[in-house]
């Protein structure tokens, strides 16, 4: 088995310590850090993500793999920065104001990171201005809002209006999600994209970033 395959496999099994040392080995052998990232870490998370989407693994298995990925990334990061590699996109993520639910949001973060996106997680109960502020500061591609309550999902509209009010609507793509959110709600508030679950949110975010950076 090649070192990269081994990294991917160990990551899928959630073996953080092993992933760490294997990444170090690969670096020592002179493997391009970008290749380690793509064909090792992201490959492993891709497999797990796919399995999760197909209901073959549970969240705890994804979480443990994500922790292994983070362990590997820690080792890799300084080398990637040196190689001038940047994330394929930056996402500002948070649960909207008045809403303190974070299980779904955390899952989305994990899935997005597993796709190689940089995710700035603002946590829960995030006011509209904070979404915008962070997006400007990090020069983000996407603002992703989560809500679990029918009374707070209307806050998503406020986020969009705040971004638009400051004249930045064209600069960011805005995604919405959470149990009560629907495609038609997404349209009605003028968001760009609704994702029904964490996996498709990650897939959609990658596509949005690619499209945005291309166009």
């Amino acid at each position: 088995m090649s070192l990269l395959t081994e990294i991917s496999e160990m990551l899928q099994r959630g073996k953080a310590a092993e992933v760490k040392s294997l990444v170090q080995n690969a670096l020592d052998e002179g493997t391009d850090p970008r290749v380690i990232l793509e064909e090792g870490l992201l490959h492993g998370m891709g497999v797990i993500g796919e399995k999760f989407k197909n209901n073959e693994v549970y969240v705890p298995e994804v979480l443990i793999a994500a922790r292994a990925m983070n362990a590997g990334s820690e080792i890799l990061k300084p080398h990637l920065a040196g190689a001038g590699v940047e994330a394929s996109g930056t996402v500002i993520l948070g649960t909207v104001k008045g809403d303190l639910h974070d299980i779904g949001k955390n899952l989305v973060r994990m899935m997005m990171e597993g796709k190689g996106l940089e995710v700035i997680d603002l946590g829960v109960d995030v006011p509209p201005e904070k979404f915008l502020e962070a997006a400007l500061e990090r020069n983000a591609d996407i603002i992703a809002c989560s809500a679990l309550l029918t009374t707070t999902m209307t806050e998503m509209k406020n986020v969009i209006e705040t971004v638009a009010g400051e004249g930045h609507r064209d600069r960011f793509r805005i995604m919405v999600g959470g149990a009560p959110v629907t495609e038609s709600f997404c349209k009605s508030v003028g968001a760009d994209l609704y994702a029904p679950d964490a996996s498709s949110a990650a897939d959609a975010a990658v596509a949005l970033c690619r499209e945005k950076r291309a166009g």
């Binding site: 549970y58 299980i103 899952l107 109960d125 029918t150 009374t151 209307t154």
Partner: protein, 456 residues
Amino acid sequence: MRFTELAIDDPTGLIFGTAPKPVTSGRGLTVGGGQVYPELNFTLPTMEVNARTYPEIKEIYRKTVDDVLTRAAALHVEGIVVEFETLLEMTLKPAYGIELTEILVEACERFSARYGMKAEVRLTPNDTRDYERPPRMRNSPYLENMLRLFDEGAKAGATFLSIESTGGKELHDEALVNCDIQGVVYALGVLGVRDMRFLWDQITKIANDRGVIAGGDTACGFANTAMVLAEKQYIPRVFSAVDRAASIPRSLVAYERGARGPDKDCGYEGVFLKAIAGVPISMEGKTAACAHASPVGNVSMAACDLWSNESVQAVHLLGGPAPVVSLEQLAYDVRLLNESIRTRQSLLLRDMLVGSDVSHDPQALILAPDSVIRIARAVVAAGDHLAATFAAVGTALEIIEEAVQDRRLRMDPREEVWVTMVREQLAEIPLNEDAFVEMMQGRIDSGKVLLEEYGL
């Protein structure tokens, strides 16, 4: 542990409509006294709650409760509980919650007088302490208004007081997605139990002072979150089943501190509380699909004294307002239960309800009367709440393992490994609170959980 014996120690005695300790309201509605009644809950359509929208909100409550009770009268419903589960803003600003309670109470009184129907309001403020991270369970700035809503709502005529309190939830959420049974037992059996004692001493005092009835508390934010995650296939069903078992001692505390029931609908652990404390319970199942999917649509009906729709938004369906649709469905469900009681066939009907679900899911299996009595027995035999939580999880696991072995339970092969994993992790828990607190110390993120807010 106050309860050391079972109020119902034979599975045959655990049945809908009858509880060892029925509760009677001022208007004469007896819950658990031989009949089942519907409990109807509705909430707003998707909208903001603020000073601008509040006049419209009042109109929605006014009109909806009238529509619901009109239909109830047309269907000859003889008794009903209308649950008012507040939204955040209605507890933050108790004046809203109080006035809406008044609106519901006025309608219940009017219809009771006009149709001889016994209609009562259950007031369920939401636990606003949870709207701050980390939550300050005992020193929350939100606590005062929350208790004020209980008090003034009782004064305004609410008959039953309930809550879905959240002590330990800040730890439990993470334990769930990690399938960490130690975290679950700690969150429910240590933190949850401690917070329940703190909170329910205050709620029962309010109820006693106002001459109303303390209804009880559900582990909705815990075990129902687990159930939802299991339905999405995010966590194994067996984990959700043992999480429900782990919530029993925690929810029992309300009755140890003086609550009398009926326990609130969304606590599927209610059946265990009925067996242990003898209190009447509200349950929800298939007719609450408007609020959430579940694997326990029929079995949950087996021992209910009130039968509920959990919650439905006041939106319009082809058949009319969705709350009226729910009422109609509940009324017919309840008619069937009561007809079986009238014709002395209730045990047969109960067994059909149970039998129809138990082979499909471990969460249904542990709600079967046999399982309930067995788990409840383990709970009351334990010396304290931690041991009881441990025993409940262990016994639930045993029941599930036996059923899988005997092929009485369909289980996804992916689930099997988790049975073993839970059993192994469980075995590591020391049955002494101090030792357990010590053991968990290193794993608690003090930025997320404030142990001192639990007296630790």
